[in-house]
Each structure stands twice: as C-alpha cells, then as structure tokens.
C-alpha cells in the first residue's frame, strides 16, 4: 500500500502553507492574488510571456536549494509541494527600507506605469542572488521574459547595474538563511506520494519514478505536467479541464543528466536552465538557441522532455536534437523502448506515445570529428519568440571532401519537426561546395510545403530554409560576417 499524503505543503514567503483543497487548474497567480490577497504580482498576459507575475520559486535538487524566477500565471499550485515561493511582498517591510533591487529601480527612474515593475524586481532579484555583478548581456538574458511598454528598458538596465553598489548579496535573507530554509523544505519532502482531489479533479505528485510509472498505468489518460509552460496555457487560454493531473515535481530522478563517452542523456524533467551548462559544454553550437527559448522564467520551468512530448511543430529543441541523432526513451510500467526522436513525431498533434506511457529521457550522441553542426532559429523578434523557421544541420565531410552523411531537420516547415530527406539525398556523395549546395537547394521544394500564418508566409519560410543551408555552408568555409554579431551590448549611457 502506497503511503499517501493528501495535502500540498509549501513555504510562502515566511509562512508554511498547507492546502487540502487545490483544484487541478489552480494557478499560483490566482492563489496569491485572490486567495491570499498578495497583489504585488500582476496578471499581464496569463500565458507566461510578459513576466508581470514573476515570483521566485526555491526548490531542492539533491539537497541544494536554488531560487529561480517563474511565471506565476501558468504555474500550478499543486506543483509547488515542497517549494519556497517568494513574492515581491517579501522584499521590503511596510515602511521599512527598500530592498537594494527596489532602491536601484527607484534611483534610476526605472518605473513609469509600474505595472510590470514587481515582475522586473523579482527577475532582477533572482539574477542578483546568483550573479551580483552581471554584464549587460546577462541582464538582458535575465529580462527576456519581462515586457515593459513604457521605459524602453534603458533605465531598468541602469538599475540592474547599480544594485550591488546599494547592497551586499550576503546580507539578503534568502542567501544568509538558505541553509535553514533548505532544511525546512527538506522536512516537507516526506517521500510520500501526494494525492488530492476526488475523481475528476485528481492531482497526483508521484513519490518516485517507479511510482510515476505506476500512477500513469493506473491513469493512462492523465495529463503529465512537468514545467507547465505549455499545459498552463491549456488552462489559462483554452479553459480546458486537465484532470487527472500528474505533476513531476518530486521526481529528482527525472532531473538528472548522465554523461557517457558517446553522448549525454537528459532526464525528461530536466529544465532548460538545468540542462544549459552540460548541453552547451558539449554542444557549443546550441548555446544561442538555448538562450532564446522563451524567457528566463520559461527556461526555469520548462523541460526538454516536455518540449518533445507535446510534439509542437515549432518546438525549439527538436530540429537540433534530430540533427544530432537524438533518441528518446519511453517508459510504460516497467517496460521501456527507445526510438529515434524523428520517429516520435508522427503527424501534427500526434506523437508515438501510448496511453500510460511517458517520455523518460533523451539521449544526444556527440557529433563525430568530421561532423559540422549548426542550428539557426529565425523569428520575428530575436528573443522570446517562437520560430518562424528553425533549421539544424549536421553534415559529415569525408576525407575526400565529399558529404558522407547529413541530417537536416527543420521546425516550422511542416506539421511536425521534419527532416529534409531529399535535400540530404542530393548532398550525399557530393563535394562540399557551393555548387553542391545550390543543386541541393532546389530539393527543399520537394521536402516541404510550409504554411502561411502570422509568423511568416510560406514563401518566406521556403526562402529562409534554403538560405539557412547557404549560411551553414558559408560558415563551414570559415566566412566572416555571415551572421549578425549578437555579442555583448557596448554601453548604456549614464543618465
């Protein structure tokens, strides 16, 4: 008999919250604003794009407590079991001195209408704790998920640069008290499965990976929620009922990264942020792509496993992972199967995942020495946007200068992430030259018939797909000025 707890427990600022009655669709933002009357966090979009609702969530992984910015609007309350939620209300006491982050924002005139401001404060707070003296580039990266319509951001960047001249990180309670808070959170993690709600409203947090497999076999139609950056919108935008829900919050096993001599294996619950260091170490070409997935809040919540499992034709990671020859391991009960990632995507909205089955891990092999690899994401806005086209290229050039093998995969060009099989075939055996490229390019028309939508027209998608192969070729030839240098911002003037 499984040991079951029927409440959700987490720390909210300086208080323990224990809830027996949590709806499957209850968001953290509504909980804060409506149930707790904590109205510092605002609703700007209810889809995790504007950041006005940003709060910090501290969670343990293998005993280490880390605070990360998240979008409260698409975060489910039930997923917070064992976490520490920190809202803007915790930063300064009424009539007390402002927190250094807040003081910096006031001093630099960084708020105008003020509606986005609590979200910016929380994002900058999270950054400052990890990186007290960030570069402009690091600040911009931390603020990719925060929209401001008034200031033009210049004053906010000035504020971010000024924080450390106002206060010491070491004096911040979340830093100085971290050990104590970690112990409190550890005590909340009692290793039990959490089950709340009755039939039709059931929410389950399995205690372990095996428990998860068991729960899912018993509830094969359950909605699996990892980061909720997608499922959150099913609720906030489409008002879908998602129960029964299985949250992966307690599955530390799914948050592990394994290295073997031939590749890297990401547990399906590894967030983009958690995956960043190891992924970029082994695949430096993924660094820009990774930095452009959502905003920081989305990368802190969202998982590679979720990006794959939900099968979006415009997901950020699949084209690159397909080009790298990634495989996905699915599990049902005790049985596992592994298939090439590209085979997982059957059709628009249809993946090769059976009821009761879940994505357990993704293995990405290291490219060979002769392999050239690159991935390019093209979007209307550079950061925090969805691809109009995303192209990934891995080409193996033999000693004879000919293409021994190639994998070319695109997002945004079909109903699923899809390989350009005809282009690959056209390249095979050809000398790696602009002649070969120009010949192969016409084959794109046979591989893809992209759609026109609000992100891009079919013509643009097709043209860009071709041009990305040209870009890839130029880069393999060491050409300079082939891409806009997105390096560090030079300067922000003093005001």
């Amino acid at each position: 008999m499984t040991d079951i707890r029927d409440t959700i427990r987490f720390l909210l600022n300086d208080r323990l919250v224990e809830l027996a009655d949590v709806s499957s669709v209850q968001t953290l933002l509504d909980f804060l604003r409506i149930d707790r009357n904590l109205r510092g966090a605002k609703e700007g979009c209810a889809e995790g794009d504007c950041g006005a609702c940003t709060v910090l969530v501290g969670r343990l992984l293998d005993g280490r407590l880390k605070y990360e910015s998240v979008n409260a609007c698409i975060r489910f309350v039930a997923s917070l079991d064992g976490c520490h939620v920190v809202t803007v209300e915790a930063l300064a006491q009424p009539n007390g001195p402002l927190h250094p982050v807040q003081q910096a924002m006031v001093d630099t005139h960084a708020s105008q209408c003020g509606f986005c401001t609590p979200g910016f404060v929380m994002s900058l707070y999270g950054l400052w704790m990890e990186n007290p003296k960030p570069s402009v580039h690091e600040i911009e990266k931390a603020l990719q998920g925060n929209l401001c319509r008034c200031t033009g951001y210049a004053a906010i960047i000035r504020a971010a640069e000024a924080i450390s001249s106002i206060g010491e990180v070491g004096n911040d309670p979340l830093v100085s008290e971290r050990g104590k808070i970690a112990r409190e959170l550890a005590a909340l993690r009692d290793g039990r499965r959490v089950e709340i709600g009755d039939e039709g409203e059931r929410v389950v947090l399995p205690a372990s990976l095996d428990d998860f497999a068991e729960v899912l076999e018993a509830n094969p139609k359950a909605t699996i929620v990892a980061g909720s950056t997608d499922v959150g919108l099913w609720v906030t935008k489409f008002m879908r009922d998602i129960a029964p829900v299985v949250h992966l919050s307690h599955l530390d096993e799914l948050r592990r990264i394994f290295l073997d001599p031939g590749g890297i294996t990401l547990g399906a619950g590894v967030s983009y942020t958690e995956a960043y260091t190891e992924t970029v170490r082994h695949f430096p070409q993924l660094s820009e792509l990774w930095d452009r997935i959502g905003g920081a809040q989305v990368r802190n919540m969202g998982t590679v496993g979720g990006n794959i499992a939900n099968g979006s034709p415009i997901g950020d990671t699949p084209p690159a992972l397909i080009a790298l020859g990634a495989t996905v391991t699915l599990r049902k009960g005790r049985s596992r199967r592994t298939l090439p990632l590209e085979a997982f995507f059957i059709d628009y909205g249809k993946q090769d995942r059976q009821p009761g089955e879940f994505v357990e891990s993704i293995r990405v092999p290291f490219p060979g020495k002769q392999d050239r690899f690159a991935v390019y994401k093209i979007s209307k806005r550079f950061d925090e946007d969805i691809s109009s086209v995303c192209g990934a290229f891995r080409v193996t050039i033999g000693g004879d200068g000919r293409v021994a093998d190639s994998v070319i995969a695109f997002g945004g060009m079909a109903g699923t992430p899809k390989r350009a099989a005809t282009v690959e075939a056209a390249l095979k055996g050809a000398a790696w030259s602009d002649t070969a490229i120009e010949t192969a390019i016409s084959a794109f028309e046979r591989d893809f018939r992209p759609l026109t939508d609000w992100r891009a027209s079919a013509d643009y998608r097709m043209l860009v797909a071709k041009n990305l192969l040209r870009r890839f070729y130029l880069e393999t030839q060491g050409a300079s000025n082939v891409r806009i240098d997105r390096g560090v911002a030079v300067a922000v003037q003093e005001a």
């Binding site: 979009c45 708020s111 105008q112 929209l147 000025n481």
Partner: protein
C-alpha cells in the same frame, strides 16, 4: 514672528530630477491598480461574450448552457440597457455596447455574463451558442476602397499652392505607395472597470481610463441617468498610450450596468487575448503619393492620399486621420500640396488613439517621399531633408496654413550630426557594405516636428483643485490621469514651486470626476501643459489671498510678501509656511481653489482646412545604424543617438524616460509589431506570444539619448516646458530608414527599397529579393 535661516531651494521644485511619485510603490508592489482594490463582500465579476464572425447577422442566441454554468448570476444584453446602447465618443451612435442584429467585427461584444467569480463568468461566456448568417466582410483598406465601403467620418483635405503648376514645373516626378501597419497598445495592465452601486441612481466606477469625464458621460448615457449620478475615479493606469482614451468606456458602462442591476459591486476585466481582439488599435494606413522635385531634390509639389483602416465605427478616426495629414509635411516645406484622408470603414475593431494619434503614420509617409527623392537622385537622404526644411523667406507655411514660428530643427540636426558622427559613419557604412556579402549596414538620421494641442479646440482646457490644510499640507487634484508618464509628479512639482514648499508636503489624489469636472482626455501630450497650468492657477489664487492677508496683517505692501523655500518672507521677516496657513485660517481666509486654464492662440476651421491648430511644435531627431542579414532579413539596431526638445524640462529624469520609451515603442511599431488578420477576418496576433513588442535585448546596442537642454518654449507654457508624450515616438523612424538603406545597398542605392511597415524580417528579406531582382534587370538592360 521668527527669524529663520533661509534655505537655497525646495525639494522637488520644477526642473528638478524628481523621482516618480509612485516609484517606491511600484517597486514594492503596493501601487494599487484597479484589480488590486480590495473587493467588498459579494463582489460579482463580468465577462464579455464576443462575436466569432467578422460580419454577420445574429439569427439567434442560446444562453441555456451559459445560465446553467456554475456561479452564473445573470446575463446582460442590449435589452438590459435602460439608456442608450451606444458609447460612440464621436456621438455618431455607431458604437453599441452590445451588438444587436448584426456583428461588424470578429471580437465585437454581444453580451456579458455576470457570475460569482471571474473564472466562472469567463467559462460560462464561452458556452453561448450564437447562430450567425455570414455577410461579406472586408478587413483591408484597399479592399474596402474596392468594395466601396463607406467612410466613417468626412474626410479632410489640406491644400495650398497650385499643385498642377508644381508638378508641371518639377523636373522629376515620382509616384509610389506604402502600407503602414497598425499597432496594439500592449499596456501591461489590460482594460478593467470596477463599479459600485450607490444610493438612488448613483454609481461609482473605478476605471482604467485616460478620459474620466467621457467615461462618466458614457456610463450616464448607457444607464439613462444624469452625469451627476456617476463618479469615475482613476488613481493610475498600468499604461495606456491612447488605448484607454475611448476604449475604457464600454468596460465601465458594462460594469456599471451590472452594478445597477444586481446592486452589487461588479468587476469586469477581459483576458489579454480578448482585450487585444475587442479593443481598438493604431490605424493601419495605405499612402498613395506623387511628389515633384528639382535636380537638387528640392520639393515642388506633393499630392498624397492617406487611407486608414478605421474599423467598424468612427471612434476617433476623424481627428486621427486629420493629424496624419497635419504631420505628412514633418519638417519640410511643400510649396504646393494636396493631402487627403480616406477614413475607411472595415470589418475590424474600431481603431482609436495611439501615441502620436495618426501623426506617426503621416510622418512615415512624408519621410518615405524624402527617401524616394534621395534614391532617385542617388543622394544621402539627409541632404534632401536639410534642403527641404522649413525656414527662409516664404518657406514657413504648412499645408494647413499655420506658420511655423518656433523652428529649431536646424540646430538639433546640426548637433546630432556632430554628436553621432553621422558623416563619417555613413562613409564607414558604405565601405563596410562594399566588403560584406551577407551582412549589410544602414544608417539614417531623421527629424521630428510634432504639433502640440488637441486639434479640437474645445479640448484645450483643464481644471485643478488645490486644498491647503491647516497643518500646511497640500492636497492636489487635477483632471489629468496618471498612466506612468509622471504627470502627477510634474504637476506636484509645479505646485511645490508655486508655494515654494518641499514636494513631500503635497499629496496628489486620484483623478475623479467628482473633484474636477468636464475634463479632457489625458492625451495629445497635453497632460502637463494643461493641468500644470490649471494647478498653478489654483495655487496662485490661494497665494494671492495669502499675500493680501499677510500684507494687511503685518502692514507691509503686497510686493513685500514673497514665497521663499518653505517660508514666507513678509517684509524683513520670515514665517514658516504652515504658520502662515494657520493664522490665515483663523481669520477665515479660503484655503482652497479651483484652477482653470485654456490654451491661447489656437483655432481651426476643418471645412476650410485652415487655421492654427497647434500652439507650438516639439522637435527632435534620431540617428540609427543597423545591421541586416540579407539571407534571413534579421536585423539589429547597433546604435541610436537622439536629441530631443522638451523646452525647459519640468523634470529631466522623467522626460528622458519618456524619450527613451517612446523611441523603443516607435521602433517596435515599425519593426516587429505586426497585426495579422486571417481570411475569416480574425486577428491572429492577439497576445504577447504572437504580437512582439521590443524586449530589453532589442534596445540599440549603443543608445545615447539627450535632451536639447538649451531649448525654451517661446510660448508661455508651464515654466516654458514642452509636451513630451508623443513627439519622441516618431524618433523610431530612423530605424526603418536605416534598414531601408541596408536593403538599398544590394542594388547600389539607386532603387528605393520601399519596405512596408512593420519591417519584419520577412518584409526586409522580401524587399532585398526585390532589390536584387531589380538590380539584375537593370544590369540586363545595360
């Protein structure tokens, strides 16, 4: 009477870099927006049911599932409206609260569900079954012209000189056209209204509105009660940008309607997607133009038609399209001009005010003509600009017959050319482009001249209310609304300066129709010009009484009474401000005053297209350099330099923030912010996931912004300052033109790229493809 040590100056007087009065509340999350107000017990929540068709007859509505939905208290339709089912700000009766009989755009409100929670109301609203019979619909301006769709208001024509003679004389004549996209305001706080029923027919509405008086009048009209029964309050908005000038009225009216009907507090807040679908935006324009010029590029004649997608109703489209024409000349003298507007009806949401109010579209059109001249003649567009600036004998009359009297664009451009190192950098860009195959660069320096005043003269008035309490504290209220621009701060600075007291002594209270009546919208950049003057007037009235009192009490002449920092000097002695107030109260001096202001000199005859619609002009210029990827159309702004004129700034810190923010917003409008309707007439870019406003990382990599600190308004505005809200928005045009230059580089800068706005990576790449094709055709012809 004490002898006090005088201090140099007060804290927070005019021209100081005073921080935003709510800054400390913004950062702590304690600044209260309407959704943050604690709800009284029993508060109900409304949600609008929107049309799912662009143009259709409503055959029937089945509310069965709605009523049966959990938490539903009731449903409101047009039948529940005791007054008029109309919130047309133009009083054209074309803006129903709830559609009846037919719907005219996808997203038009048809009904509202009232329930115990917002979630319950929203879920229930989705359950209505509306049966439609589709009618043909038109979403695009040119399609509307082709389909003979009506105009929503009478068009405007501005005409001066002899257009035919001008074209005959001109050695070169170029014709062209341009599409300019609209823009969603994307205020971070969406629309919201919260209504509380009162006694008798009274209702109080907390509305996120830039125009509390109009909201009050519209609520009264819908409820069928007198205006005196309705009080509208707004402490602050979470951004507005014009999007809450008229668009708040419907939300306020529905909340008030429900509050009256159910005798409970009612809050109405749409989801972001519904806000974007159901409320108006910046007008999209199509500009068709013909321009004549000589070999040097000097303009001889301009003939242009500005057609606007107005949406299904008039709203503010008349004055918006008028202002487009008023700004089609930007800084340039047109010897012969004919400018016409076409405010076209379409089956889209009714477009409305947005920062610049049509001016930006007019100016983009005017600047496109300058570009065309430059590319036709193979010259630097800046040379063409300078050649055509207003100035010199007989070259100061606008197409609307107002004489430009305060022209400072020459000095601004000269300073910006120097500080941005324009000439050398343009040469460097040209050299870079010769050596770079894929990445191309572009640089552009563009000017701005923007007319200040509401073109409807009667709106140029304002009121304020100042109370001095017996402890010497001051409460300030005025008709302007705070949407982040810092109006409350600036007006408080004015009052602090008048009384010569520290700004901490002054509390600004929420804008309320109960305190200052018959106000104008906080719009047209007029906030501090109008309300600053009205507040100064109120303070001066009180001061006048205090001076008279002090002179009599201490037996000095009135000229010997002066307000000095935190004290009043009476003859040779000084008295603390609060002490003077206390003694004035004791002898029954009135310590409260209502101030008033109306802008002088302005007049406008629309039928004749003549007058002086603007009290003065604000000027500015920006220089932007971009990199463009010719394989993908992606781009990045490498550097922008700005000099902007705010006259003698009331608050340089706030003004700098306005300039920086407006530039980025203008850049967004012209680059990544794209409104996209599908074949069914549905707006598909209706949330931040699909509608892309600039991020921090979209800022120019180098961003140098400076106020023209030497500028002083030659007109007698409040402390000789100038309006700042809208003018800097158009500084963003330099980015579009710099992208244009980069695209032109692939065809030797001799063919105008004519990139439509917004210049998304797609439009940029497609323009580059066109340029390449045109260049190779030209080569083939040789």
């Amino acid at each position: 009477m004490n002898v006090m040590q005088p201090i140099d100056h007060i804290r927070g007087g005019v021209h100081e870099r005073e921080r935003h009065e709510s800054g400390h509340k913004h950062v702590t999350g304690t600044a209260e927006y309407i959704d943050d107000i604690p709800e009284p017990a029993g508060t109900l929540h409304g949600y609008l049911g929107l049309s799912e068709r662009a143009h259709a007859e409503i055959l029937s509505i089945d509310f069965g599932a709605v009523s049966a939905s959990p938490g539903v208290v009731g449903i409101l339709t047009a039948d529940d409206i005791p007054g008029e089912n109309d919130v047309s700000p133009a009083h054209k009766h074309d803006d129903p609260v709830f559609a009846t009989g037919k719907v005219e755009f996808h997203g038009q409100p048809i009904f509202a569900v009232i329930a115990t929670t917002r979630d319950a109301a929203r879920r229930a609203a989705a359950k209505a079954k509306v049966e439609y019979r589709d009618l043909p619909h038109v979403t695009d301006v040119l399609e509307a012209e082709a389909a003979n769709y009506p105009l929503v208001v009478d068009p405007l024509k501005l005409e001066r000189g002899d257009i035919e003679a001008g074209f005959t004389k001109a050695k070169h004549v170029v014709e062209g056209e341009m599409r300019i996209g609209g823009q969603d305001h994307f205020y971070l706080e969406g629309h919201i209204s919260f209504a509380l029923p009162g006694e008798d027919d009274e209702v109080t509405v907390f509305a996120s509105t830039q125009h509390p008086s109009e909201t009050q009048h519209m609520v009264a009209q819908v409820l069928g009660v007198a205006s005196n029964a309705v009080t509208v309050n707004v402490r602050r908005m979470g951004g507005a940008f014009g999007g809450k000038e008229t668009q708040a009225n419907l939300f306020a009216a529905v909340a008030a309607l429900a509050a009256r009907k159910y005798r409970r507090a009612v809050k109405l807040r749409p989801d972001r997607d519904d806000d974007m679908i159901a409320t108006g935006k910046r007008h999209d324009f199509h500009v068709g133009y013909k321009i004549g010029f000589d070999d040097d590029g000097r303009i001889e004649a301009v003939d242009a038609v500005f057609a606007a997608r107005c949406g299904f109703s008039a709203d503010l489209s008349g004055p918006v399209t008028d202002r487009a024409l008023f700004h089609a000349d930007n800084c340039y003298f047109y010897p012969n001009a004919r400018l016409r507007s076409r405010p076209l009806k379409t089956n889209t949401v009714s477009n409305t005010a947005f920062r610049g109010f049509g001016g930006p579209q007019g100016m983009v059109g005017g600047e496109r003509m300058i570009e065309d001249i430059a590319y036709a003649l193979g010259k630097d567009p800046l040379d063409i600009r300078k050649l055509n600036f207003y100035g010199g004998e007989g070259r100061n009359l606008t197409p609307y017959h107002q004489t430009v009297e305060d022209n400072i664009i020459g000095r601004i451009i000269e300073e910006l050319e120097a500080s941005s190192d324009y000439a050398a950098r343009r040469q460097a860009v040209l050299a870079f482009n010769r050596g770079s195959q894929v990445i191309k660069r572009g640089i552009a320096l563009t000017p701005v001249k923007f007319g200040i005043s509401f073109t409807k003269t009667e709106y140029n008035q304002a009121g304020a209310l100042v109370h001095v309490y017996t402890d010497g504290s001051i409460q300030l209220n005025h008709g302007g609304t705070e949407m982040g621009q810092g109006l409350y701060t600036k007006v408080a600075q004015v009052v602090a300066d008048e009384f010569q007291v520290d700004i901490d002594r002054i509390k600004v209270t929420a804008t309320s129709t109960g305190k200052v009546p018959n106000t104008s919208a906080t719009a047209a950049s007029s906030g501090s010009d109008l309300n600053g003057m009205a507040a100064a007037n109120a303070a001066q009235q009180i001061k006048g009484r205090l001076i008279q009192f002090a002179a009599e009490r201490y037996g000095v002449s009135e000229a010997d009474v002066a307000f000095e920092p935190n004290t009043v000097r009476i003859g040779a002695e000084r008295l603390p401000f609060a002490e003077l107030i206390k003694s004035a109260y004791a002898v029954r001096i009135q310590l409260s005053a209502a101030g008033f202001y109306k802008t002088p000199k302005i007049h406008w005859d629309r039928a004749e297209g003549r007058g002086r619609p603007f009290y003065y002009y604000a000027y500015g210029a920006s220089c932007s350099e971009v990199s463009v990827d010719t394989l993908t159309g992606e781009y990045r702004v490498e550097r922008t330099d700005i000099i902007h004129d705010v006259g003698r700034s009331l608050n340089p810190a706030l003004d700098l923030g306005q300039v920086e923010g407006a530039f980025i917003q203008g850049m967004g409008w012209l680059t990544t912010e794209e409104l996209w309707w599908d074949a069914k007439g549905r707006l598909r870019t209706h949330a931040p996931s699909t509608y892309k406003i600039p991020l921090a990382s979209d800022r120019p990599r180098v961003f140098n912004v400076r106020l023209a600190d030497w500028s002083v308004n030659r007109e007698e505005t409040i402390r000789r300052s100038k309006a700042v809200g809208e003018p800097p928005f158009m500084l963003g045009i330099s980015v579009l033109e710099a992208i244009s230059m980069a695209a032109a580089s692939v065809a030797g800068y001799r063919i105008p790229p004519r990139i439509d706005a917004p210049a998304t990576p797609e439009r940029v790449l497609m323009a580059i493809e066109r340029m390449r094709a045109a260049a190779s055709r030209a080569d083939g012809d040789k």
